[in-house]
Subunit: 198 residues, 2 copies
DNA sequence: GCATGACACGAGCGATCACTCGCATACAAT
DNA sequence: ATTGTATGCGAGTGATCGCTCGTGTCATGC
C-alpha cells in the first residue's frame, strides 16, 4: 500500500476496488483483470486506484491473500482442534475443513489454482503447507517410538501434507465421479495405511 | 499450423523458431516470450513466424507439447514394460522413469509447472493422467478379488495417480531434504500400503 | 468561514504486444 | 531462360496496458 486511507470514503474505495477486482477476475478471468478494468468496475478512476496500491500486482495480491488466508485459518483451526485426538480423526477433521473451505467458493479456487501461475502462489500456499508440515512433523516425532525406525518424521510429513492438499484441490476442481464420503474415507485410509501407528 | 512448410529451408525455420522459443522461455520466462522476441531470437522476421503458426499460442503450445510428449512417452513405456510384474516393482519403475524424465530438464519443468497457468496445461497433462489412470484402474480391476471389496478400482487409481504425479513434480522442483532413494522408497510404501494386495 | 491536506478524477503518456501486408527473393518445373 | 509458387522480410497498425500528473473537490481543524 502506497498510502494508508484515513477517511471513511477512501477506506470504502479500497474495499470497492477489492470486491470489484474479485468480480472481474471471476467474470472475465485473471488475465483480463487489468487495473483500468478493475477501476471501471469499481466506479473509480485509475488514478485513485494507484493512490492506495503501488502497482497492479498489489491489487490482485490483496484479493488472493484474502481468499488464501481464509482457507488457511479454517484448516489450521480444524487441525489444532483435533490435535490431541487419534490420527484418523485428525486426518478426517482437517480434510473435511479443507474441502469445506475449498467448496465454498469453487470459482475463486479455480482462478487461484488453475489460472494463476503457481509461481505467484508459491509464497502464499507454501506458507500454509510449511505450517501444516511442521505441525504434522512434530506430531509424528512425538509418536516416533511407535513407528518404523527408518522413517524420518519430516519426510513423512512432507509427503503426506502435499498429497492431501493436492488431492483435495483436484477433487474439488475436477469433480471426479467419487462421492465425497468415499473420497474422505479413502484419503483417511491412505494416510493411516502409510502412517499406521500415528 | 497455418501452412505446411514444404522446402528444406522453411522446415529449418520452423525448427529454429521452436528452439528459439524454448530458449527465450528458459532465459526470460514464459510471460516475456512474445512473438516478436521469439522471432528476433530465431533470427527470423515476425511475418515469417506467422506463415507457419496461426498465433502466439500455437508457438508456445508446440514447444510445451514437445516436452510433455517426451515425458509422457517415457513414463508410459516404463509402465507398460513392467505391467506384468508385481505392484511394488511397477510403482518403482514408473516413478523412477518419471523422476528421470523430470530431472532431465528441471528448468523447462519449472516453466511448465510453475509459470504456465494450469488451465493451459490441463488438456495435455490430463491426457497422460487419464491414460495412466485407466491402465492402473484396469490392473486393479483384474486383481479385485484380492482386494477390499468396497474399493472401486477407478477411485483408487484416480487417487494414486494424482498423488504420485504431483509428489514427483514437487519433489523435483522444491528439492526437499529427502534423498531420492528414500523418496522413491516412501512413495512405494505409500502405494503398497494403500493397495496392499495389488 | 477559512485554510490545509486528503482525496478523487480522467485524459493521456510511453511502451509493448499480437499480428498484417506489400514487396523482394529464392526455388522448382518446364 | 521463364514462369509460377513458396518463402521471407520488416516497417507498421491498432489496440491495450500499467501508470502518472495536473486539476479540481471534499473533509477536517481552527
Amino acid at each position: 500500500m502506497r498510502k494508508v486511507p484515513q477517511q471513511q470514503r477512501s477506506r470504502e474505495m479500497v474495499e470497492r476496488i477489492l470486491t470489484a477486482g474479485r468480480d472481474v477476475v471471476l467474470r472475465d478471468g485473471y488475465d483480463a483483470a487489468s487495473t483500468n478494468r478493475i477501476a471501471a468496475e469499481a466506479g473509480v478512476s485509475p488514478g485513485s486506484l494507484y493512490q492506495y496500491f503501488p502497482d497492479k500486482e498489489a491489487v490482485l495480491s490483496a484479493i488472493v491473500d484474502r481468499y488464501v488466508d481464509d482457507v488457511s485459518k479454517r484448516v489450521t483451526a480444524a487441525l489444532a482442534d483435533r490435535f490431541d485426538e487419534t490420527g484418523p480423526q485428525m486426518v478426517r477433521a482437517t480434510l473435511n475443513a479443507l474441502l469445506d473451505a475449498l467448496e465454498e467458493n469453487t470459482e475463486l479456487l479455480r482462478v487461484v489454482a488453475d489460472e494463476l501461475p503457481r509461481k505467484e502462489n508459491s509464497a502464499r500456499a507454501s506458507a500454509l503447507e510449511q505450517r501444516i508440515t511442521d505441525l504434522l512433523s512434530a506430531y509424528l516425532a512425538a509418536r516416533r517410538p511407535l513407528m518404523r525406525r527408518d522413517l524420518t518424521p519430516s519426510t513423512a510429513a512432507w509427503i503426506a501434507v502435499r498429497a492431501i492438499e493436492n488431492l483435495a484441490v483436484r477433487y474439488v476442481l475436477e469433480q471426479p465421479p467419487i462421492d465425497r464420503e468415499t473420497f474422505v474415507g479413502e484419503l483417511e485410509r491412505l494416510m493411516t495405511a502409510y502412517l499406521p501407528e500415528a
